[in-house]
Point group: C2
Chain length 448, copies 2
C-alpha cells in the first residue's frame, strides 16, 4: 500500500496527462527543501533518503491500478497506455542521511523528464518530511542525554503504521539505542527493547507473583515495571525477590518507572535498590518524556539510566510538520522560479557547500548554482546517488549512517545544541551565492 503509485495527489496525474498531451518530455530539475525551520528547531537532521530511492526504483503502475484509473473516466486511453511503461529513469543527488541541514538548502535534487520528476513529488515530500522531523526530534533527545540509553516507545501514538516503523529507523539513525517496534528489528536490523505492561501485573493477583513469573519466562535480561500500584513498595518487593531470582539464573537488569514524579521516585528507588544489594540494577523511566523533560530530570540529578520516549518523539509534537517543498528549478535548460508571495524559491540546479573549521565544526553554508565554482574550504553536501533510475551503490548500512549522524551531532556548533527556541540563539549562517541572486533577478525580469 505505502508504495502504490496511487499514493499521490490527483494533480500529479492530471499534470502528467497534460505533459503527455503537450509532448513535453524535456528534462526538469526539481529540488526538495525546507523553506524555514520550525520556530522550535535550530537545525534539522535528514532522514528518509533510502525510502525515497526505494520508491523511485520500484515505481510503476499495476494493471489493476490502470484499470481503476480508466474507470474514473478522468483520463484518456492513450495516456493510460503510456503509464504501463512509466518508470522513474532520472538522476538524483542527495545529502547523506544523518546530515544536519538548514532552511532553503536542497536536500534532494531530481533531474528527469518533467513528467517523471513531477509525479514523484507527493511521496517524496511525504517521506522526507516525516523521517527528517523524527530524526531531528530524536537528535535533540540525544543531545539532551548523550550518555543515557534512549529507546523509541512511540509506535502506538505515531500516526499509523508506516510512521511507527520509519520513526524507529529515524530514531536509531539519530543515535537512539533502539526501539520497541519489532518490525523495525526485522526490516532494519535495529535493536529491539521491551519491558512489560501494567496489564501483565494486573492479570496476576499479586504483583510479586507477576514479577517472579515474568522473570522466569524471560530470564536473560529482565526489566520489571514497578509503578502499577505503589512504586517504592514494588521496589522493595524486587529487593526481596532478588536472591531467589539470582539463584534461578535470572539477570535482573532494570526496573521501570512510568508515572508520578520520576525524579523523586528514581531517587527513592535507587536508595532502596542500593540498600538492598542491587546497585547494578538500572532505572529506566518513561511517561510523556521529551528532550526538555529529560534535561530537567538530568539537571535535578535524578538517578535514571535510560529513557523510553514515545508520543512527543514519534509525533514531533512541538513541531509536527516541516515547511517542506519540492519545486521546479529548471526546465528544458532554462531556470525557473516560483514567485508566489512569501513562497519564492531560488531558481536553478543548486549545490550546498559547507565550510568547517580546523576541528571539522561547521562555520557556514553556501547555497550556490551547481555549476558555480567551489568556495574555498567548502565541501559539497549534495552527492550523486542515482543515475538513469538506478542507485549508484547499494543502500548504505544503517550503522554507517548512524555513525555519520553521531559525527554531525558531535561537531554541531554550541548554540545549535541547546533545545530552546530558534529565536533565542544566533542562527547558523546560510548564505546565497552571488550567481544565484543574479539569476533570480534575471528571472524576475522575464515576461510571464
Amino acid at each position: 500500500m505505502n508504495d502504490s503509485a496511487l499514493l499521490t495527489d490527483l494533480y500529479e496525474l492530471t499534470m502528467l496527462q497534460a505533459y503527455f498531451d503537450e509532448d513535453m518530455h524535456d528534462t526538469a530539475v526539481f529540488e526538495l527543501f525546507v523553506r524555514v525551520l520550525p520556530s522550535r528547531r535550530r537545525f534539522l537532521m535528514l532522514s528518509g533518503i533510502e525510502q525515497v530511492l526505494d520508491y523511485l526504483e520500484n515505481l510503476h503502475f499495476t494493471a489493476g491500478e490502470l484499470d481503476w484509473l480508466h474507470g474514473t473516466g478522468r483520463f484518456r486511453p492513450a495516456f493510460l497506455d503510456s503509464l504501463r511503461a512509466f518508470r522513474f529513469r532520472g538522476d538524483v543527488h542527495a545529502m547523506r542521511e544523518g546530515t544536519v541541514f538548514f532552511g532553503n538548502e536542497p536536500v534532494l535534487r531530481i533531474e528527469a523528464p518533467i513528467g517523471e520528476a513531477q509525479f514523484v513529488e507527493s511521496r517524496l515530500i511525504n517521506l522526507v518530511n516525516f523521517c527528517s522531523l523524527i530524526a531531528t526530534k530524536a537528535a535533540r533527545c540525544v543531545l539532551a542525554a548523550p550518555d543515557s540509553l534512549l529507546v523509541d516507545f512511540g509506535l502506538r501514538r505515531a500516526h499509523a503504521g508506516e510512521a511507527g516503523l520509519l520513526a524507529a529507523r529515524a530514531c536509531y539513525l539519530a543515535g537512539f539505542a533502539g526501539s520497541a517496534t519489532v518490525l523495525a528489528g526485522q526490516r532494519f536490523g535495529i535493536p529491539v527493547f521491551g519491558t512489560m505492561a501494567h496489564s501483565y501485573i494486573e492479570a496476576h493477583d499479586l504483583e510479586s507473583e507477576a514479577f517472579e513469573r515474568f522473570s522466569s519466562s524471560q530470564p536473560d535480561n529482565v526489566t520489571l515495571l514497578i509503578d502499577t500500584y505503589d512504586t517504592e513498595a514494588a521496589a522493595a518487593k524486587v529487593v526481596a525477590l532478588a536472591p531467589a531470582l539470582k539463584a534461578r539464573g535470572v539477570n535482573l537488569a532494570s526496573v521501570r518507572l512510568d508515572s508520578g514524579d520520576l525524579a523523586e521516585h528514581a531517587r527513592k528507588v535507587r536508595a532502596l535498590l542500593d540498600a538492598g544489594g542491587l546497585p547494578d540494577v538500572r532505572i529506566f523511566a518513561s511517561g510523556n518524556l521529551d528532550e526538555h523533560r529529560i534535561a530537567v530530570l538530568r539537571a535535578a540529578g535524578a538517578p535514571i539510566d535510560g529513557f523510553g520516549i514515545g508520543t512527543q518523539l514519534t509525533t514531533s509534537a512541538d513541531a509536527p510538520a516541516l515547511d517542506s517543498a519540492y519545486k521546479l528549478q529548471a526546465y528544458a535548460g532554462r531556470a525557473r522560479r516560483k514567485r508566489s508571495e512569501g513562497k519564492e524559491s531560488w531558481p536553478g540546479a543548486k549545490q550546498v557547500w559547507r565550510s568547517v573549521d580546523a576541528e571539522g565544526r561547521p562555520q557556514r553554508d553556501l547555497i550556490a548554482l551547481a555549476d558555480e565554482p567551489a568556495p574555498p574550504g567548502g565541501f559539497p553536501l549534495l552527492q550523486p546517488v542515482m543515475r538513469g533510475g538506478r542507485r549508484l551503490a547499494p543502500p548504505e548500512p544503517l550503522a554507517g549512517l548512524r555513525a555519520h549522524a553521531a559525527a554531525e551531532l558531535a561537531r554541531l556548533p554550541a548554540p545549535l545544541r541547546e533545545p530552546g527556541p530558534a529565536a533565542e540563539a544566533p542562527p547558523y549562517p546560510v548564505e546565497v551565492s552571488d550567481g544565484l541572486r543574479t539569476l533570480a533577478r534575471e528571472l524576475d525580469a522575464r515576461p510571464y
Copy 2:
C-alpha cells in the same frame, strides 16, 4: 507492511510468551479509551474501527516472521510453534465510527483469551488514536465552514504513507467533500479532487499558455492556479481566455489561490471574474489553513467557495496525539484496575450510555458497568461488532458512517461546536455510575 504481526511492541511478544509459559489463557477484557481530551478539543470523533476489525480478522504470523523471531534468540521454540496457529478469536464491542465521544469513555472493548487480547494493543491504539485525531480535526473544519467545499490536501505532510491514506478516509467520514489522495479513491471510493502545481505553470514560458494547455487537456472540470506570479494579473488572463476556452468546450469551474492575503485576493479576484462575465467560476483557497483561519476568512466575508486543507489537518498540528490507552479491565472473571499515579483507570467491562433531549441532542453520558441496568432514556454506544474473531456484519459503507457523523455534528451541543479551548466552555457532562465507583473502591482495598 502495515498489517504485519511484527508491527507491534516487543513487550506484547514477551508477555505472550509468559502467558504461554504460565498457561494463562482465561478471558481478559481490555478497553480502549482516551483518558483526557487535548486542551484544544471539546469533543472527539471516532474513526479507525474498520481498520481495527480488518487487522483483527487477518492477524497471523507468516513463516518468515516466525523464522526471524526464532533467529533473535529471545523466544523458545515451543512458544514460537504455538504462534503458527495464533489468530484473534475474541469478541469486540465498538462505538460506531463517526460517533462523538469524550474522556474515559471506552470506544472499543475486546474480550478474548488474555494473550490475544493483549497482543493487539499496539496496533489498535496506533490506528484508533490517529484516525480519531484526524476525524476530530476534520469535524472542526466542517463546523467552521459547513457549506463550503472542503478537500483534504494533506498527503505530503501527513506522517508517512498510511497516515496520508487513512487521513483521507477520516476527513471524508467527518464531512469533507473528498481528498486529493488518489489511493483513497481506489481503496475507499472517496471522491478525489485536484488542481495543478506551480511547477506546471513555470514549465511553460507564459502563464496564459499554461492555462490554455491545461484546460485543453482536462476540459471537463478545470481549476486554474493563479498565484504563481501575480494573482490579479492571472485572474485577468483567465477572463481574457474564457471566451476561447468556452468555445472549445472547456468547463472552467474555479480558480485557486494559494498564497498572500487570501481574503483580499479573493475579493479582488471575485470582482475581476464577475466584471469579466464569469460569475459562476468559483474561488478555491489553500495555504496553511485550519478551522481557525477558515473561520476568520468567513467572518471577513471573503468570497471563497472551497478550501483545500493540508498540513494542519493531517497532522492535527495543534493536538497531534490523544492520551489514548488500552487497559485490562477484567481477567478470569475478576475486575482489574491500573492504579498508577495520575493514570488510574475505571475497572470492569463497561458500557457508555448517552441521554438525548427531544430533538436528539446529547445531554449527558454515563459510563457504567456493562451489566448495570440502562439509565432511563439512555442508549448504549458500544455495540457488538465481532464474535469469535469474525465480523458480525460486512463493513458498513463509508457513506453510512459519513451520514452518521453528519448527524452527530448536527446534534452537537452549542458549546462544543466552537473551536476555542476546552477550558473556555462548560464541559459536556460525563458521569460515572455508582456501581463503577463501588467496584473501584473494592478493588483498591484488595491486596496486591
